[in-house]
Amino acid sequence: MSWQKIRLMLAACAVGVFALATQPALAQAESPQALIERIGNEALERIKADPAVRAGDTEKLSALVDELVMPHVNFERMTALAAGRWWRQATPEQRKQLMEEFRAMLLRTYAGALNAVDDQTIRMKPLRAAADATDVIVRSEIVQRGSEPIQLDYRMQKIGDSWKIYDVNVLGMWLIETYRTQFAQEASRSGVDGLIRSLAEMNRQGGTGTGS
């Protein structure tokens, strides 16, 4: 080989090694703590920057949630746990509808809370879990001036290399626990179809309609 070619090869190797050394450690999965901090802050920044979302524009919020949050949520498990034994009895079509209506209801309900966002920040609390745990609770708080911080916790499970949220706790109230009774009561009365119908009706009307 000519001296020219060897030099080119050495240069190529050097570039290759340099590139590898500066590449982020992709093989290491993001910790659940870091994940929540990242998407939490990102979502908060996007909401603060978008007055339409804060005013209650559900379509924009829905798009935002789909983009930022849903990829990290195991929503099927969330719905399944909330529906309890009724999930087992439901057909795949019913399950799909239940998930859709549940998601729509959550979006509709909590979109209304977003107009209170102005200068809040998220503070993470230390993670108490074994290093090899596959099911953890990530704790955080929404800090706002003039009132107590709002507790915000997440139950997350490890699926493969990534972590997914499957339950959320706001102010001490776990989502699944709160909706389990609601779903069970309605499903006992009128079956899974009745439950889907009630949720769809509420979503259409924007609530129970009994409030002012």
Binding site: G112, E148, Q157, E177, T181, Q182, L199, T208
Partner: protein
């Protein structure tokens, strides 16, 4: 630093002019009703709610469900007829900064009682910080109408005598909806009665002034709940059980200051037999 001196530095309380004797009488009746209800049920305080499977749990947590539903209906009616219209009017007429000051003022008074309960619960450091809040807000916050302490980063806590009883080891007992006061438990109901007695507003000599402030606080608190109410009405299939379950969880969290003893901290929560779902991405 008595409430009387705090109150005398305030502008005249912009509350509804309510006949002093009528409000006094109403407060006495409500207090007596709460006390009677819980005295009669004190024996049930030993009934600790059992976290079991779906069906059994409700029956064990809420054995008084029919009474509670009726009381919930009564409270709801009272709310729609009287409290909500007044609170709506208050919100529409009084500008936000003024309402903020009202909230801060009553929040300051609440901090006094919170500090007392922190001491009773054996948390002297928290008690110190809450008293520090009161001192700062009363002096630099013009008698409490500005929450200077929060701006300085001293967090607000929320403690009441029901929580103190819980820390002392009294089991919560079944869920109980009180007339006017709303969700409670057999243990928290007498706790609420003690809260009323320990209310700094009681230090005021003038009955008229005290009742006006009491009414103002009720109206301001109700106005603050509008957002939570909208959320609840949008989310609940059955409002009674939604409020009950949310309130009980919230209560448990408050008692343990945000760290309730999860019986399955690092393990998968016991939701009963886990329903099958497709795990694969």
């Amino acid at each position: 630093m008595s409430a009387a001196s705090m109150a005398s530095t305030q502008p005249a309380a912009p509350g509804p002019a309510v006949p002093a004797r009528a409000l006094d009488g109403l407060r006495r009746v409500l207090l007596a009703a709460a006390a009677a209800a819980c005295l009669a049920l004190t024996g049930c305080a030993s009934l600790a709610p059992v976290e079991g499977q779906e069906g059994g749990r409700t029956a064990q947590v809420d054995p008084f469900e029919s009474f509670n539903r009726a009381m919930h209906g009564f409270n709801d009616g009272l709310d729609r007829a009287v409290l909500k219209p007044v609170a709506t009017g208050y919100q529409n007429v009084v500008p936000a900064p003024a309402r903020q000051m009202v909230g801060s003022f009553f929040g300051n008074l609440a901090d006094v009682w919170t500090a007392v309960n922190q001491l009773l619960q054996g948390k002297p450091v928290d008690a110190f910080y809450d008293l520090f809040r009161v001192a700062i807000n009363t002096t630099f916050g013009f008698g409490g109408i500005i929450d200077v302490a929060s701006d300085l980063g001293i967090e607000k806590h929320s403690e009441d005598f029901g929580q103190t009883l819980a820390v002392w080891g009294v089991p919560s007992g079944p869920y109980l909806v009180l007339p006017f006061f709303g969700p409670s438990t057999v243990r928290d109901a007498p706790g609420r009665a003690v809260d009323v007695v320990g209310d700094p507003l009681n230090q005021l000599d003038s009955h008229g002034q005290r009742n006006n402030l009491w009414a103002l606080r009720v109206v301001d608190d109700r106005a603050r709940l509008f957002r939570a109410e909208r959320l609840m009405r949008g989310a609940a299939l059955d409002e009674y059980s939604f409020i009950r379950d949310a309130w009980l969880q919230r209560r448990r969290s408050l008692i343990h200051d945000g760290n309730p003893p999860v019986d399955y901290d690092d393990e998968v929560p016991d939701y009963g037999e886990e329903p099958d779902y497709d795990d694969e991405e």
